[in-house]
């Protein structure tokens, strides 16, 4: 079973995403902030990371840069998720080196498609 780490400070969003992903056969772990994300990723070793951009403390932008600099875990795909406009999220993903992006609100199908694509 593929393991997915969902990092978002909004509990309503993470609960909903957990249901979406678990009912489709993924194992999900929630992280409510970007704090200690590097250590947690190394411990849990997820197959994919879904990461919110706007979080208090360490945001998705900084977290992505941190993870992508770490040779042990840089191959884990990161999909950033943000309430920014679609074109802005796209530009942000490109800028910080995330593997893909989703803009809120998103379709469940789009989430599952993008996750499946990056788990190949």
């Amino acid at each position: 079973m593929n393991k997915i780490l969902v990092c978002d400070d909004d509990q309503a969003i993470t609960e909903m995403m957990t249901i979406m992903l678990e009912t489709n056969g993924y194992e999900v772990k929630i992280l409510p902030s970007g704090k200690a994300i590097q250590r947690l990723v190394k411990e849990y070793l997820p197959d994919l990371i879904l990461l919110d951009i706007w979080m208090p403390g360490i945001g998705g932008e900084e977290a992505t840069k941190l993870l992508k600099r770490d040779l042990d875990i840089k191959s884990i795909p990161i999909i950033i998720i943000s309430a920014l406009q679609k074109d802005e999220v796209k530009a942000m993903a490109k800028k910080i080196g995330a593997d893909s992006f989703l803009s809120k609100p998103f379709d469940m199908d789009d989430l599952l498609k993008i996750v499946a694509k990056h788990l190949k």
Binding site: D10, A12, I13, M16, M17, I19, M20, T23, W54, A83, L84, Q85, K86, D87, K90, A91, K104, P105, F106, D107, M108, D109
Partner: protein
């Protein structure tokens, strides 16, 4: 001596030195009764220093005023009286402004400007002029017949100093933003040329204009208004100060509309005029800045509120789709129908929020184009195919060749989506929508034609305005904020193109996007 003491000493010495030198200069300028100068820089300098560095520097002012007057020949008692008056004036003004008006040195609020005018312009100058004249009177320097004249000269000199010199120092010492960019360089240059030309006309005469004609002085208003509206308080106070310097020098040398045979008479009428100029400039700049801040805050609010709205919308949409998946499995048709309605409405809400975000980005100049090379024909096909899924209209695409362009693909796609969905929305009874891509020598043209309700000619010009909604019975039944066409036209404008509309009421409309082949970005 520790650093704190050293700093106090150096700053105090600076205030003292500047005060002393400017005071001696002022006393040279035909002061009324020998000591009431109409051009009196020290008052403004001392007020500004106390407002910036604190009232604890008052001894520098007392000492500077005492020595300047004493060395000019004032008896020791009179010099002491004058220096006490000048110190009280500066300390009291600084204290009252900070204590009761929450005064900001940047003068970027109307209340700061008014507080300065009332307290520094009228109130404290009255105290200083009164104490000064009494001091001179007590030692017999001022003749009783000249009391009124001396007092008024003293008062005007101090007032202008507080309204021209103090703001100049306060505003420019403040670390507020001033745009020195190349883009502004042209405007700044034109403003400076205008300012000096106007001064040349006022004080030296130019072409047919007679410089001895006082109304010619009002020519200063155009550059002053320009500076205040476009360059903020820094522009306004600098313009006033430049004008004050030129006009005082010109008047002293006998040029311009204020010059008469008597220097103090000339300076008096000039300074009264300067007072109105300085006050007008500062008020105008403060109003412009306040308006700008309201706009900024509004854009910020829209941006934050829209982002906050998106979070619950995401959750609602998510659960609706989870329920759709469950209902699909259970084959619950009724539930599916209702859930799709929820999903549809969430999409509508998302579109509204996105439109608001787009508008606030356009308004605050933050819309950035992500240029890339792509095939326009291909993009139009993609958009049309996407839109076709959700409409009963038949969208017919006429296009021949592939056209490779460099533009923001995402935003151009948004514009197309927007215009096609408008075409669908406003032609509920029609069957077809025509989308045509053609090109001539200079432009690629995309036209979107519907056969719907059409638009009255009188509304064409306002169609692309923000929040514009056509006001009639038929259109009332269509929802929307009136932002779509504004956003679309702004995006196309940023690509150097335009959107054109032609329409016949009851027959339908054609919206044509013109994208220049050599796209120039604004």
């Amino acid at each position: 001596m520790n650093y704190k003491n050293l700093s106090y000493f150096v700053k105090g010495l600076t205030i003292f030195a500047v005060y002393f030198i400017t005071a001696r200069l002022g006393l040279m300028l035909d002061a009324v009764s020998g000591f009431a100068s109409l051009v009196w820089l020290p008052t403004g300098i001392s007020l500004a220093s106390l407002l910036i560095w604190g009232t604890k520097y008052w001894p520098a002012i007392t000492l500077g005023a005492f020595l300047a007057n004493f060395t000019e020949g004032a008896p020791i008692l009179a010099a002491m009286g004058i220096s006490i008056g000048n110190t009280i004036e500066a300390v009291l003004t600084a204290y009252l402004l900070k204590r009761f008006f929450n005064f900001r040195n940047s003068l970027d609020r109307l209340k700061d400007v008014f507080a300065l005018i009332i307290i520094a312009g009228f109130f404290s100058t009255t105290i200083s002029a009164t104490i000064g004249v009494i001091s001179l009177l007590s030692v017999g320097i001022v003749k009783t017949s000249l009391i009124k004249e001396t007092w008024f000269a003293w008062w005007i000199g101090d007032m202008i100093s507080n309204l021209v010199i103090a703001p100049l120092i306060l505003v420019w010492a403040h670390k507020s933003h001033f745009d020195f960019s190349l883009k502004r360089l042209w405007e700044t240059s034109f403003l400076i040329v205008l300012l000096f030309t106007v001064n040349l006309i006022i004080f030296r005469g130019f072409l047919i204009i007679n410089p001895n004609n006082q109304p010619v002085a009002y020519m200063i208003f155009p550059p002053l208004v320009w500076a205040a509206l476009r360059f903020g308080q820094k522009g306004a106070v600098l313009t006033s100060a430049i004008l004050a310097t030129i006009s005082v020098l010109a008047t002293i040398f006998g040029f311009g509309p204020f010059a008469t045979s008597n220097l103090s008479d000339s300076l008096l009428s000039l300074q009264i005029f300067m007072g109105f100029i300085a006050v007008s400039g500062m008020i105008l700049a403060a109003i412009a800045l306040e308006k700008e801040r309201v706009e900024e805050r509004k854009d910020e609010f829209i941006s934050v509120a829209s982002h906050e709205l998106k979070t619950p919308v995401t959750t609602i949409k998510g659960y609706a789709q989870i329920l759709i998946a469950i209902s699909n499995k259970a084959n619950d048709k009724k539930a599916l129908l209702y859930l799709h309605k929820i999903d549809e409405q969430v999409n509508r809400l998302t579109e509204l929020v996105n439109d608001l975000l787009d508008v606030s980005k356009i308004q605050s100049g933050k819309l950035e184009l992500e240029k890339e090379r792509f095939d326009l024909n291909h993009l139009i096909k993609e958009v049309v195919e996407d839109m076709q899924i959700n409409t009963k209209h038949k969208i017919i695409l006429h296009s021949k060749s592939n056209i490779s362009i460099v533009a923001d693909k995402y935003l151009i796609g948004e514009v197309l989506t927007n215009l096609i969905s408008n075409a669908i929305k406003y032609s509920p009874k029609a069957d077809n929508i025509l989308v045509t891509l053609t090109s001539d020598i200079s432009n690629n043209k995309i036209s979107i034609q519907d056969f719907g309700i059409g638009i009255a000619k009188k509304d064409f010009s306002r169609l692309f305005e923000r929040f514009f909604r056509i006001d009639n019975k038929i259109r009332e039944s269509f929802s929307g904020l009136g932002l779509g066409l504004f956003i679309a036209s702004e995006i196309i404008k940023r690509h150097g193109g335009s959107i054109n509309v032609s329409s016949v009421k009851g027959k339908g409309s054609i919206f044509t996007i013109y994208l220049p082949k050599k796209i120039s970005y604004e």
